[in-house]
């Protein structure tokens, strides 16, 4: 949930109406409200802080330009996240480097000389980075649903709308993504016990 959503008294629809009426300053409230989730989504999908910031800024500029055409058929937040997802997907297509999306989990195990200990990682909190690496190794269609559901806390319905797929597809992809992640983590765990 956006950082300040609870304390805001003006809802998205009213802010949008004011911006569309020419009161540009009200767009600042929308930016403040959604800056964190848009930036977080960009960073998780892109993986580079500076690039994620640029893309997130461009998302809001595009949203501002497109606001007159926003029909309100979907929630504003869903529309905003769809634009974010599309722009990040574009970025990934343009900036994909060989090996960038391949799993670095095995590399991690190799680098730590076979002493990877999954239990320790849980205890000392490094598991987040560990899971992130496992996540980087997933195909984009699985990676995306994990990020949108677990990190962005979006519902299946919102994810379905953003990715333009049926809700059932989101459920299936999420199930497969969790399974693939678990298998990768199990593999690392076994490597640690050798």
């Amino acid at each position: 949930m956006p950082r300040s959503a609870k304390t805001e008294t003006v809802d998205d629809d009213e802010l949008i109406a004011r911006v569309r009426a020419g009161e540009t300053r009200f767009f600042a409230q929308l930016v403040t409200r959604y800056a964190d989730p848009v930036f977080a989504m960009s960073l998780r999908l892109i993986g580079d802080r500076a690039e994620a910031e640029d893309v997130a800024q461009e998302v809001f500029l595009r949203v501002h330009r497109a606001l007159p055409a926003f029909k309100g058929e979907a929630k504003f937040s869903t529309w905003l996240y769809r634009i974010t997802w599309n722009m990040c997907a574009d970025w990934r297509r343009k900036n994909r480097r060989p090996g960038r999306t391949s799993s670095s989990l095995e590399t991690e195990a190799d680098q730590s000389d076979g002493r990877v200990n999954l239990e320790k990682k849980v205890i000392d909190g490094e598991e987040q980075a560990f899971v992130q690496q496992a996540l980087d190794g997933l195909d984009d269609i699985y990676r995306s649903v994990v990020i949108l559901h677990y990190y962005q806390k979006l519902s299946y319905e919102q994810i379905a709308s953003i990715l333009e797929v049926p809700v059932k597809t989101v459920e299936t992809r999420l199930y497969r993504a969790r399974r693939q992640l678990r298998l990768r983590l199990e593999k690392i765990g076994q490597g640690g016990r050798r």
Partner: protein, 165 residues
Amino acid sequence: MRHAQVDSLIDRLVVGACSPAEARAVASHAIGCARCTVRIATARRLSTALGSAPVLRAPPGFAAKVMNQVYRQALAGQPAAEEAPGARRRSLSTMYRRVAFSFMVTAFVLMASLVIPRAAYTSLIAARGADAGVGGSTAVQGVLQSADKAVRGILGEQQVGGNGE
């Protein structure tokens, strides 16, 4: 229940998507199976890690940067701000026109001050029956041609400048 069956249920089990009967069957198998116990534990850890990912915040000043660009974008959409170079072109051509007009006025005044007295002088000479009007007339023609050339030059320059941009 066999390992493979348990394995197919683990990822649903940890998110509470299994039926109570399935959950009981998995639990009773896991009691006697170290392999599946480890798998279930790993799935739970993964679930916990995914559910407790750190919240990522936008960098400080992010909203201000965005609004700065939003206002620039809004201003750029207005013709006055966008067409500043064109406005400069217009003011240059206005200046050329004014210079040309000044030249023409000067030329006219010059012509009036030289030709009219000269015409009067010529009529006076003619009245006296003498032919002495050629020298003054040539001087006036020369001045007029110079002025005309200057005006044409300026107008020509303006034309080139206007087409060139």
